[in-house]
Symmetry: C2
């Protein structure tokens, strides 16, 4: 391995924002200040599209106080993009890198971003241009391979857990059936997080449906009816990506005009159709009067002022580690390994870009109950530490009655 070149660096943020992707950005910036081999750090505005347009911010000039506000802010402070660069696009990027002696590329994003790093890194190698490309993981879906979990998930999980905790208390006060539709096209981690705040034996969510298990309308309604008969109420967490036994998602079945993003994913967020459909089915078929539905939508990834402190610290450290690795390795993706049993902790390591690029992880079978309508204690053990802790609540309606 040659010595780390004295050259410039680019950092940018890609894909859907998260609550802590800015903490990773700040981690990159603070570590760059400590590594004199990196001369300038250019922040590309709106990800790869900013690179090809040479739309850069001089990130070494941002004061430390501002950086702390950036790290505390949701969404991508440099702007994002849904562009999925093809070969020609990547060649343009490499052209800009060559033009400005940019030999370090830190890309904060999901598996598509890891793939972009991989492609550009290979292109540079083939062209004999030394480029060190590093992927910093982020996603609220928690679906990246290799890493134990992904920065962004803990904060989104905290939001979802707090939302459903409150929703369950609301449903106790005014009983009925409540359907909550939660983000996650293919992986059920975030929907499963709805159960992390359960404290009492009869706390909701009482039913949890994830994309990893197909569900028929008959089974869904039978589940709801059984809970409702027992508790006189029912809180249901449903992933936007749940599918029917025929393999089609329930949202696809509903969507009259399916909008697709540049990655070919059907657009499910930003619509209340699935939630309203499920509520309508319950009302019509089970003759239950009070049925309500909410779709949590973009609040799950962008709510201001509600970071998981654990997630924030890890996201920042992932940014720091990427820059550190760049002085000894030619490329890679930062990953986390869980350490310790008594006390939660992680250690950081490098994995190959190809191990992360374009691949996704699903909820492990051990995290889903055998009926496919709930999650297990093993999932709570896995995910609860990532939220940084959840508030405690009390409900008096279960307390013993007085005979007067």
């Amino acid at each position: 391995m040659a010595d780390a070149p004295k050259a410039n660096a680019v950092v940018s943020q890609s894909g859907g924002p998260t609550g802590v992707i800015n903490a990773s950005l700040v981690g990159v910036i603070e570590q760059v200040h400590k590594q004199p081999n990196i001369r300038n750090l250019y922040g590309a505005v709106h990800a790869v599209s900013g690179i090809v347009k040479e739309d850069f911010i001089d990130l070494k000039k941002i004061p430390a106080g501002t950086l702390e506000l950036v790290a505390a802010s949701p969404s991508s402070a440099l702007g994002s993009s849904r562009d999925k660069p093809d070969k020609a696009y990547c060649e343009k990027i490499l052209g800009v890198f060559k033009k400005h002696d940019i030999r370090y590329f830190f890309y904060i994003g999901g598996n598509d971003s890891a793939n972009t790093c991989f492609i550009i890194n290979n292109m540079a190698r083939d062209a004999g241009y030394e480029l060190r490309a590093f992927h910093v993981p982020k996603t609220i879906d928690n679906d990246l391979l290799v890493t134990d979990h992904c920065p962004g998930f803990g904060t989104a999980a905290k939001f979802v857990a707090c939302a459903v905790m409150g929703d369950d208390l609301d449903n106790r006060a005014l009983p009925g059936v409540k359907v909550d539709v939660i983000m996650g096209r293919h992986a059920g981690f975030l929907t499963a997080a709805s159960a992390l705040g359960r404290q009492r034996g009869d706390d909701g969510p009482h039913l949890v449906y994830v994309p990893e298990r197909k569900i028929s309308m008959e089974k869904f309604l039978a589940d709801v009816e059984a809970v409702y008969k027992k508790l006189n109420r029912c809180v249901i967490a449903v992933s936007e990506g749940i599918s029917a036994p025929d393999g089609k998602t329930w949202a696809e079945k509903l969507a009259e005009t399916a909008e697709k993003d540049a990655h070919g994913n059907v657009q499910l967020s930003g619509t209340g159709a699935l939630a309203d459909f499920l509520a309508g089915e319950i009302k019509a078929k089970l003759k239950i009067k009070r049925v309500r539905a909410d779709t949590f939508g973009y609040l799950q990834r962008s709510f201001a002022g509600l970071q998981s402190e654990v997630d924030k610290a890890e996201a920042r450290q992932c940014g720091i580690e990427a820059v550190k690795l760049s002085s000894t390795a030619a490329n890679g993706s930062v990953a986390m390994k869980r350490i310790g049993t008594a006390k939660y902790g992680v250690e950081y390591f490098r994995t190959e870009l190809a191990n992360v690029a374009e691949k996704t992880k699903s909820l492990a079978a051990e995290y889903i109950n055998t009926e496919g309508n709930g999650i297990t204690a093993a999932f709570v053990d896995y995910a609860l530490p990532l939220t940084g802790g959840l508030p405690k609540t009390e409900y008096l309606g279960n307390y013993p009655r007085i005979k007067i």
Copy 2:
């Protein structure tokens, strides 16, 4: 005024839960402990329906530590009810009061609850039964008369403001049009709260529509187009209760099967139809590609762990004041008056039940801009202190670019 009778008391919570209605309950309980004339404090489970069923919890037995958890929890810890008692129902309530020597009634709720207090109080007086009925205000809509503002609003306003702050940052990262539908059938306070977190000149929400101003689809689309042309993006806060120039709400126009609650209100929450409709119109008529919509739904009133500390403290004090007043007055509703100019503060006073019962307040004209599509600085001055403060954020995409 006769001396305060030595007798029992009932407290309960009515209508839609809020984030701090439990703080009011705890205020009542803690003050009852200090007033020996109140022998027992019975918590009626599920409001008036719990009174007629004599479904009571002995609230003096609840440990102090538990009470603090109750005060920190969203939703109604005693359960709630949408029952609107008629004369026969109120006679049953009075019968239970007489049977158990209950001469104090503390009812935490909105204008319907104030009316129930009023009716039962008059009934008792006519029957020659000494009863002291007090209303403790709560509503996320902030639409009660007399009081400067209402416990429950500040916390809901904080949620809405934080949601739209994050949403606006998200919309900067991935530009397009975003529609957020916010609770409030007749009063626009909560929708107006979407603007409380604005920090930068081009921060969203860029358009705010409240029920107090009618809006045609043509004007709505023209507004959106104008903002989009200027900023290449647009964040819009819309009340669920916005209406068209013909006087019908936009939601009514959409609702195929309007569900009504016991108070005759059309059910608008729990459905994404209005948001999806508005997004569809923008997409179709303005040919804008990226249009998203969220309906904030029940999270606005029930999210766990996100109280406004100011709101929580005031809600608790309103409960305390109701019990204090009961030793010197025959009935009343607790209200707040804003004091001080340099530093925000309130004082508490008694108003007649009839002043609050069944009446509602709307956003003052001075809080809405002349175009009817935004809110004024006067509203921010009024409402921001009630949130207890909002997080600061940073976005780098506006920073000057480097020429390299």
